[in-house]
């Protein structure tokens, strides 16, 4: 802790340390891009139906077909994004961000950036000690665990069907998980008092139940719908109906 902060309290050395950590991020991203290109060319890519490529009828060259389609998608996305940038840039910020920083004064409600909210709710939900682990460490374990658990997905979800499109029960639990995640984001921004504390605990528990119980059980008890025989069949079959 004191190594990260560079002192007993948050100050200039802390800022320096975090700046230098953040400037490393582009290099890490560059390394992950290399990994991405390797993965694309060696194990190959997946597709929305989750069926292996069987013939030339199943594929198209990336350029010009996908470069063009994706560029169109990017421009389409840029319209609502430009609306956000030019007309309501502060909608996701807080008025507190315009008050000069003062290490002696803590804001009444600490709220992180919006994309951290669900994880912040998980961190706050652990306010009890588990055996010899105190609540402080326990919170950090669950907070980190919420991301680490994603790396274990291949072993947690044993389903033979790759695509969720053909798994009726999985779909329901998927959307339940999304709703739960949105609720966590809401609770992360809410003050830690009253019913919010209880709800945050329920939602946090469900977040982990989804991965640790629902997914392994689902993959055993669910009967998936029949798969299309090839990618081209699924694509063209849909277009004609």
């Amino acid at each position: 802790m004191s190594l990260l902060r560079g002192g007993f309290a948050v100050g200039n050395p802390t800022l320096n340390r975090f700046f230098s950590l953040h400037y490393l991020l582009p290099f890490i991203i560059a390394a992950v891009v290399v990994l991405h290109i390797w993965a694309l060319h060696v194990p190959g890519n997946n597709n929305p139906v989750g069926v292996e490529v069987k013939s030339d009828r199943d594929t198209l060259p990336f350029h010009p077909y996908y470069t063009m389609k994706d560029l169109y998608g990017i421009v389409l996305f840029a319209i609502p994004f430009a609306w956000f940038v030019f007309f309501i840039p502060d909608i996701l910020g807080h008025p507190d961000n315009y008050i000069m920083a003062n290490s002696q004064v803590t804001p009444a409600h600490i709220v992180p950036e919006w994309y951290f909210l669900p994880f912040y709710a998980i961190l706050r939900a652990i306010d009890f000690n588990i055996l010899f682990i105190d609540s402080k460490l326990g919170g950090v374990i669950f907070f980190a665990g919420s991301i680490v658990i994603l790396f274990f997905l291949p072993w947690l979800d044993n389903a033979k069907t790759r695509s969720g499109t053909f798994r009726p029960m999985f779909k329901w639990f998927y959307w339940l998980f999304v709703a739960n995640f949105v609720s966590l984001a809401y609770l992360g921004a809410a003050p830690a008092e009253g019913i919010y504390v209880v709800l945050a605990k329920i939602c946090t528990a469900y977040y982990f139940i989804h991965f640790l119980i629902i997914l392994p059980v689902l993959s055993r008890i669910e009967t998936p719908r029949p798969l299309p025989t090839s990618i081209s069949e699924s694509v063209l079959g849909k277009a004609h109906s």
């Binding site: 077909y65 063009m68 169109y72 007309f87 309501i88 840039p89 609720s183 809401y186």
Partner: protein, 280 residues
């Protein structure tokens, strides 16, 4: 069709999950939203209103509140109060600016100087104001706001509502009550305000009807000299101080979005042409 159904189901479900928590919202005072000339995607500042607001700021607010980031020269900016350069020079010269390089320690201000602060230090400001620190005005209009409960704030995305700061300031200045409601204890030296968090505010009601005399220019209708009008004017002026580039931001945004829509149309046509030979 199936996709739209699942999305709708998801939205309905998340709304259901959020409903009980929304019902628990704190009873924050209701802040009346005002009609601002700079609201919406085509909003611009009203020069006359900014000038009136500047007059209120100069004659009333600035005796306690600083505006450390504001230079005199910005008062002549187009789209802002838009005073002439001569007016700004004359105005700056009325103020004494601390300058250790001169013999007397002060000199008359020039247009490049920042707005002089009423107090030398934070401690002095606190001592003169019963322990409360009058906040700096430079970006105060953006450092205050109106909180809309989840999920209703999302509608602000579509309406482009970003005037929470001026709305709050207007509500605060008009929110004083001489006698606090029963059961509310206001410590000595503090004042009851319906809007201020905790309701005990250190600032005495700063404005009263008629304290600032507006001089209507020829051909203009006289503006009412009421607290309501003063607070609107000064809130608009504070918004301009906090974001003098607001108008050019919105103008650029309009051009950018117009371009993007046209460009997306062209991209779509190209994509269709390219994919027309492919069965999909």
């Amino acid at each position: 069709m199936l996709k739209i159904k699942t999305i709708l189901a998801a939205v309905a479900m998340s709304a259901l999950c959020a409903a009980p928590t929304v019902a628990q919202e704190h009873d924050t005072p209701h802040i009346e939203k005002q009609n601002w000339s700079f609201a919406g995607i085509f909003g611009t500042y009203d020069t006359n209103q900014l000038r009136r607001g500047f007059q209120v700021f100069r004659e009333v607010c600035s005796s306690c509140h600083s505006a450390n980031l504001i230079a005199f020269r910005t008062l002549s900016d187009e789209g802002g109060p838009h005073f002439t350069e001569g007016q700004v020079k004359a105005l700056a010269a009325e103020y004494d600016i601390a300058d250790p390089s001169t013999d007397s320690g002060t000199r008359p201000g020039v247009a490049a100087d920042k707005w002089p602060a009423p107090f030398v230090s934070e401690q002095e400001a606190r001592d003169a104001n019963g322990g409360s620190l009058p906040p700096d005005f430079s970006v105060l209009a953006k450092a205050r706001g109106v909180t809309d409960a989840f999920p209703w704030w999302i509608t602000n995305y579509f309406t482009g509502y970003a005037e929470g700061g001026p709305d709050y300031i207007h509500a605060l200045i008009t929110g004083y009550k001489e006698t606090p409601p029963e059961g509310v204890d206001i410590p000595e030296g503090k004042h009851y305000n319906a809007i201020f968090p905790g309701h005990a505010i250190g600032m005495a009601p700063p404005l009263a009807d008629g304290v600032v005399t507006y001089v209507a220019e020829e051909g203009q209708e006289p503006v009412p000299e009421t607290v309501d009008q003063y607070s609107k004017d000064v809130a608009a002026y504070m918004m301009w101080m906090a974001e003098p580039g607001l108008v050019s931001r919105k103008e650029t945004g309009f051009k950018v979005i117009l371009f993007l829509i046209l460009f997306a149309g062209l991209m779509y046509a190209t994509k269709r042409k390219l994919w027309s030979g492919i069965e999909h």
